[in-house]
Every structure is written in structure tokens, then in C-alpha cells.
Amino acid sequence: MKLLKSIFIIACIYSISYAENNVTVCENGICKDNISPKDTNSSSFEKEFGDTNKTSTYDPFEKYNRAVTNFNDKLYIHVMDPIARGYSKLIPEGGRIAVGNFINNLYFPVRFTNNLLQFKIKNAAKETGRFIVNSTLGIGGFFDIAKRDFNWEESDEDFGQTLGFYGIGAGPHIVWPILGPSNLRDTLGMIGDSYVNALSNTKECSIKYKIPQTRLQEAGIYGYKQINRTSLHLGEYESLKKDAIDLYPFIRDAYSQRRTQQIKE
């Protein structure tokens, strides 16, 4: 009896203390604490997500872009995907990852230059460290030892992001055949990067370390890189596509959101 009484008293004290602080309100079995104010003001969400009209209006090349998006879509489904699937059956996953690492390691000059141009000195140093470690301990870049053992993450920067860093706007959206979605700024970025990229051919302006000697070789390397990449991401594009109610604006907006985020980082 005494025990029951004390339990009852404790329970009472407890419930009173809860009521006094007004910390927790229970309703239909769901409890909420009332410390912070409610945040259901829809206009503040409107602000967070921005004006829906702004991004979709300025698209002077829409007609062309739609056509190229369709072309790229067919190219992916009927050419790229089957080739990558076949390739993935020939070469085990570990091998394809290693090839991906090897190619990625060769992009060091692009990442290094652009980190430097954005005054990201620490990241530029880390990229240099990654290149040295992976080229040596990682046997020519096939293994990402720098990430695995030193926890040095890659800082992926390109010239499009550098231009964005200096406040240059995206400009109109442009979809390139084969290369995919881009915009005016990122297209200029691609051209800029090709001068330092070891895997592109810039003819007489070429730095000594350039691997492809002709445009054809460059295209071949690019094609192989894409096949290898696709083989590691089979089914992703098809799955992503299901989120699209209308494919072209879907890819356009996803692209522009991702680039904005990359520039911010």
C-alpha cells in the first residue's frame, strides 16, 4: 500500500512538473515538445525554394536543347547502356573501379589548377598529395590509397566552377550532343580545362604531358572513360528518368541545381 502510494505521488509530481514547464504535449499518442515556435509559414518555404518562373523562362535554346536531349537519351539507351553492360560482364568490378581511379588520377592538373584559381590552397595541396601518393603507392593511380589510408578526399573543381566562383552567371542552358547538359559558362569552362587536361588534345597549344596526339585519340579515350563509368552506374539513368514528368526540364533543372551547389562548396 505504501509502495503504491509513493508511486502515485511520484507520478503526480512528474506530471505536474511536465505541465508546469509545458515542455511536452501529448495528443493521440503523438508527443511534441513546445520549446521552439512552429515553422509552418508557407511564404518562408516559398522563399527558400525561390521563384518558379525565374529559372524556367530564360531558355533561348529550348527547342534545340529538347531535340539534343532526346538524341542523347536514345544514344544512352541504345548504344551506351548495351556496350557498358557487355563490358561489365567482361571485366570484373574491381578492375573497372581501378581503371576509373587511373583515369581520375590523370585529371589531377584540372583539379589542382582550379583549386588554386579559387584560392583553395589547402585543397590544392591535398590534390597534389593525392596525386603523388596514388601515382606511387597506388601503382600509377589504379588504387585510391590517398582516400583509403590517408582520408584525403578528392576536391573536384573545374573551370566552370572557377568562373562561377568569380561571380560569372550560368548563362543559357546548352545541351551538347554526346557530352550532355551544360550552359554557356560551363562550356567555356570545358574549353578552359582542355588546355590543362592531360586527356585532351589542344594541338599546338599542348603542354608536354598530353596523352592523346590527335582528336580521334582524344575521342577514343573519352568514349572509353564514359563506358567504364557507365558500367559502374548501370540502371541509374533509367531509374532517375522515372522521376521526370518531362525529361528535358527535369535534366536541365537537376543540372543547374547541382552546379550551383558545386560552386558553393
Binding site: Y14, I30, S43, L232, G235, I245
Partner: protein
């Protein structure tokens, strides 16, 4: 006396453990971690995707504010201009689409690991739980945006590698509504599965 004290303690502890479905601010990371761990266990099961999807959605459902997500994707202007019936119809179709697209993506899971980067302040006092899905030499950033609904922190958006799901739908719907009526949008949502 001693036993009584122990009982007292037990009662106290049991009173403290108030069940809650959504998270308090301090529980966002630990709560999501528990949920995601459960999801990973389900993902590794050998079951049909549809069944896995159902189980996962049942785990995640309580922390998503689907009605707010529907409202934001449509935009408050459009939302307030349509009838209640249309709102409900839209919500039903949109949520179905969201869940379906989630289930479709289960195939893409190949034993990647989830890394928790912590809860960071986001816009307007909202919070973002940052996670990374790591595997196959590549890392994807998956961020969950939470807002405070009366001390109940709920998800209103998921951001994959910088791409907001809500924003992507929002832009698409805005684009469609420029040329078509709301009912046409609804039927387009119905068709496309």
C-alpha cells in the same frame, strides 16, 4: 527501503520514456541513424523490391511531412488557387509518385555504407542532416532537410548530390502549368508511372 528506491527509480525512468514518432531536435541524428540502419537491414534481405519498399516506407513515413512537400512542390500560389478536392487528389498522386520513385531506386543499392556528417543549421532556422552513401569508389551526398513543426522535426526535402527533390518537381510542375491546366497536370501525373 532499498527495494522501494529501486522501484521508484524504475517508475521514474519509465515515465521519462515517452514514446514519440517524430524527432525532437536532439534526436534527429540518432533517430535517423536508427531508421536508416533498419532500412539497410531490409535492403540486404532477399525479397521482391515492392515488398522491401513497403517495409522501408513504413519505417520512414512518420518523419516525412508529405502534405508540406506537396504544397511546396506545387507552390503556394497554385495551391491556394485550386479546390480542396484538387489539393487532395494532387497530394495522393504526388505522394504515390514519390514513393514509387523511391522503390524504383532500391535496385541501385549495392552494399554501400552510410556515413553521418551531423546535423547542420540550414535556412530559416531549419536543420539539415548530412549523410554520405559511400561505395564503388564514388560518394553520394544525401541530405535530409528538417523543419520544426511544434517541436516535432519533420523532413520536408531530400537533397541528393545538391539536387533537391522538391525543387526538381516544383520546377517541372511550374513549367507544365505554364502551358496546361491543373487538371491536365493531374492526368499527366496519373499516366506516368
Amino acid at each position: 527501503m532499498k527495494i522501494k528506491n529501486i522501484i521508484r527509480l524504475i517508475v521514474l525512468i519509465s515515465l521519462l520514456g515517452i514514446p514519440a514518432f517524430a524527432f525532437k531536435q536532439s534526436e534527429i541524428e540518432s533517430g535517423m541513424k536508427k531508421k536508416i540502419d533498419k532500412v539497410l537491414v531490409i535492403l540486404k534481405k532477399k525479397e521482391a523490391n515492392a515488398k522491401k519498399g513497403e517495409e522501408i516506407i513504413a519505417i520512414m513515413d512518420p518523419v516525412f511531412d508529405y502534405s508540406l512537400m506537396s504544397k511546396i512542390t506545387l507552390g503556394s500560389k497554385t495551391w491556394s488557387s485550386i479546390t480542396q478536392n484538387q489539393q487532395n487528389e494532387f497530394m495522393k498522386l504526388f505522394i504515390k509518385k514519390l514513393k514509387q520513385s523511391y522503390v524504383d531506386k532500391l535496385d541501385l543499392y549495392h552494399n554501400q555504407i552510410v556515413i553521418y556528417k551531423g546535423v547542420k543549421p540550414y535556412q530559416n532556422g531549419r536543420l539539415q542532416l548530412q549523410t554520405e552513401l559511400s561505395g564503388k569508389g564514388e560518394t553520394y551526398k544525401i541530405n535530409y532537410n528538417f523543419y520544426n513543426n511544434n517541436g516535432n522535426w519533420l523532413i520536408y526535402d531530400v537533397v541528393l548530390d545538391g539536387v533537391s527533390i522538391v525543387q526538381t518537381y516544383r520546377q517541372q510542375f511550374a513549367g507544365i502549368l505554364k502551358e496546361k491546366t491543373f487538371n491536365q497536370l493531374l492526368s499527366q501525373l496519373k499516366e506516368k508511372r
